[in-house]
């Protein structure tokens, strides 16, 4: 009964939505933004339009977005239980995984670095690089590497906030000089964006990794099936 009702409602919604898309596709109005972007590329400091939009034209979005990530990380680590982090039971003693780690980790760091650098001219950038870096972290953690910086102490918090802090500092420095908030000083866009991206990569990796790690695990009261991840 409930299923039927929900299905009917969803069907109606889907039809309305498809109709809306059709309507809109049929009669677009207004100017075209891509041309404006293309015109402004020369002043943006980077060569790839997506990166230019992300870190220059609409950098406020990105700033706040990193803030959202940091919030998630804060909420995550606020719930972590300290001692469980280094529980030996969690370590996988799998020789294949260890072998993979030995080969993969350097390679993945390299990939992360490349993605970061490539962002200036082609798809890629801080988030992708950070995600890969976080992936290596996950592998390391599963392999039982001691990563003490993931304990919710000052070091972790500095790591989480670093990228955001650097971004914010860059944003406010130019404003202190009388320019707009988030504006890059003349000719400084490229190095500043690179600087921001490097720190963002680190912080994003840190956030994702800490979210992976931060959860209440291995408590005696927890039912057995809850351990499966």
């Amino acid at each position: 009964m409930r299923l039927a009702a929900v299905l009917v409602l969803c069907a109606v919604f889907a039809m309305a939505l498809v109709g809306t898309v059709w309507q809109i596709a049929g009669q677009p109005v207004g100017g075209t933004l891509p041309e404006t972007v293309a015109d402004a590329m020369a002043d943006s400091g980077v060569d790839h339009p997506v990166t230019a939009v992300l870190l220059n034209f609409r950098s406020y979005d990105t700033l706040l977005e990193i803030g959202v990530l940091v919030i998630a990380a804060i909420a995550g680590i606020s719930m972590a239980r300290l001692p469980s982090l280094e529980d030996p039971e969690l370590r996988t003693h799998d020789s294949l995984l260890h072998a993979l780690q030995r080969w993969f980790l350097p390679l993945m760091w390299l990939v992360a670095g490349y993605l970061l650098w490539a962002g200036a001219v082609q798809p890629g950038g801080a988030f992708q690089a950070g995600a890969v870096l976080a992936g290596t972290g996950v592998l390391m953690r599963l392999g039982g590497m001691p990563m003490n910086f993931l304990q919710p102490r000052l070091l972790l918090r500095v790591g989480l906030a670093l990228g955001f802090a650097v971004f914010l500092l860059v944003a406010v420095v130019s404003a202190a000089g009388g320019d707009a908030f988030l504006a890059y000083p003349e000719g400084m866009a490229k190095p500043l964006i690179l600087l921001i991206e490097i720190f963002l990569t680190l912080s994003i990796a840190m956030v994702l990794l800490s979210l992976f790690v931060a959860a209440p695990v291995n408590d005696a009261r927890e039912p057995a099936e809850g351990e499966s991840e």
Binding site: V21, V207, E225
Partner: protein, 105 residues
């Protein structure tokens, strides 16, 4: 009808499936997956419709990247909450007091 528009229609469909899951499913992880479906659908519409109109458009691509990060942050937060909730109550649904038999993924 361009291929981009097809993406947009697919996005509408995916969004609706996600919405269905959100409304109908009770298991928290399923709800979370449904939310991610909704997100993917939205991003498809965002890029598809814009590219249908403008050709290659960097702005929606950048928006989708931002949107993905935000969605990931939300998903991660939800996962942390769900895990802790399960840890404390042994429940996987929001109905207070009733244990869910569906099993957990």
């Amino acid at each position: 009808m361009s291929v981009h528009l097809l993406y947009a229609f697919a996005g509408a469909g995916v969004f609706t499936i996600g919405l269905f899951g959100m409304v109908f499913m009770v298991h928290l992880l399923r709800k979370l997956l449904a939310f991610n479906l909704m997100g993917s659908g939205t991003f498809l519409v965002l890029v598809g419709l814009a590219q249908h109109r403008n050709g290659v458009d960097p702005v929606p691509q950048a928006l989708v990247l931002t949107g993905i990060v935000v969605a990931i942050a939300a998903t991660a937060l939800a996962l942390v909450l769900i895990r802790r909730y399960f840890h404390l109550t042994g429940q996987v649904t929001l109905e207070p007091g009733s244990r869910d038999d569906e099993g957990h993924s």
